[in-house]
Amino acid sequence: MTSPMTSPDIALELGDDALIAAQRLAEWCSRAPEMEEDIALANIALDQLGAARLLLTYAGEFQNRTEDDLAFLREDREFRNALLVELDNGDFAVTIGKLLFLAVYQRLRYERLAAGEDERLAEIGAKARKESLYHAEHAALWTVRLGDGTEESHRRMQSAVDALWPYTHELFEGEAASLRDAWVAEITEVLRKATLSRPADGWAPSGGRRGVHTEALSKLLAEMQVLHRAHPGATW
């Protein structure tokens, strides 16, 4: 067991999860399968960005950097997000699977922060957990709709769950290990309603929390950071 995480470490990893998830979800803007879902994914991206700003502002205070410094001026090796959030969006089923796994996890982490001793993290957690609950409900509705839908939608949703499951292990490294049972229970119930099977535990890629990322993050950062790096300090 490693030593307990400090407040800036927690703020950084949860802030990076939310920031990278926001950027990925925003990629659906104007491309979602229907207008309502386009708006829904953009709204969820906005909530994620809001949580990211609060968390990264706090994390930055410990190293005398702003939220923008952390978002735009770090290299991939300095990001602490889990690999799950940086993976490409894939098809709509993959996006929904990523969101389901992430939102249930975030809610559990935020609930723990809300009950914790660090006042800043507690108030951020208390605010963000309600939004995460709403995101998880939305993702669960789609998981059931696709899983218990047509033969094709079922096949795609199962394939998304199978492809993403290995990446969920990393979420529960260290600080969050004790939350996995609650997470698995919630996810398993959604999968059951969706007539999907829960994949077996096996391969467990990791490294995100230590700054060892996939190629997908580098490409995401290139797009997210290019404007700020080309025009340092630019404002609207």
Binding site: I39, D47, L49, G50, I124, A126, K130, H138, L141
Partner: protein, 151 residues
């Protein structure tokens, strides 16, 4: 006008039928040594209207002769739809925006169409044009309408 009443009259930029006080996002107005310190809270953590609200508060206070203004943000207690005042709920309904159900009960009550009053309504999308609203439709009069999301 007192600084409090000036600030309380500022309209929400995205729901301009209600004031920020009626929406429940105005938490405090304090005057000390000629400085007015206003404390507001976001509805959603990513609410993009916060900058506009800060600017509107500052402009309203300047217009009423308060030169030294500071607008702070707090997250405690977090906003929920229960913070919307009864007057605010009525104004939203009058503007065609169905009010949220209370977050204190898990019961889902009937959502009445704000135009024709029919309870025959359905949710089209759990998200809407702003972070705080969902999209609904009335099956009786066929009109779509917005509803404040309950969180």
């Amino acid at each position: 006008m007192s600084a409090r009443s000036t600030v309380a009259a500022v309209l929400d930029p995205e729901l301009p039928v209600v004031t920020i006080e009626e929406l429940g996002i105005l938490r405090d107005v304090a005057e000390r040594d000629g400085r007015v310190t206003v404390t507001i809270t976001p509805t959603y953590s990513g609410c993009p209207a916060m900058d506009a609200i800060r600017a509107d508060i500052t402009a309203a206070l300047h217009a009423d002769g308060y030169g030294d203004v500071q607008v702070d943000t707090t997250l405690t207690e977090p906003w929920t739809t229960d913070w919307i005042t009864p007057a605010g709920l009525e104004k939203l309904a009058a503007a065609g925006i169905a009010p949220p159900s209370s977050t204190r009960t898990r019961l889902t009550l009937t959502v009445r169409c704000p135009r024709c009053g029919s309870p025959e309504t359905e949710e089209l999308s759990r998200f809407g044009a702003t972070a705080c609203k969902a999209l609904w439709r009335c099956r009786a009069c066929r009109e779509p309408f917005e509803r404040v999301k309950a969180i």
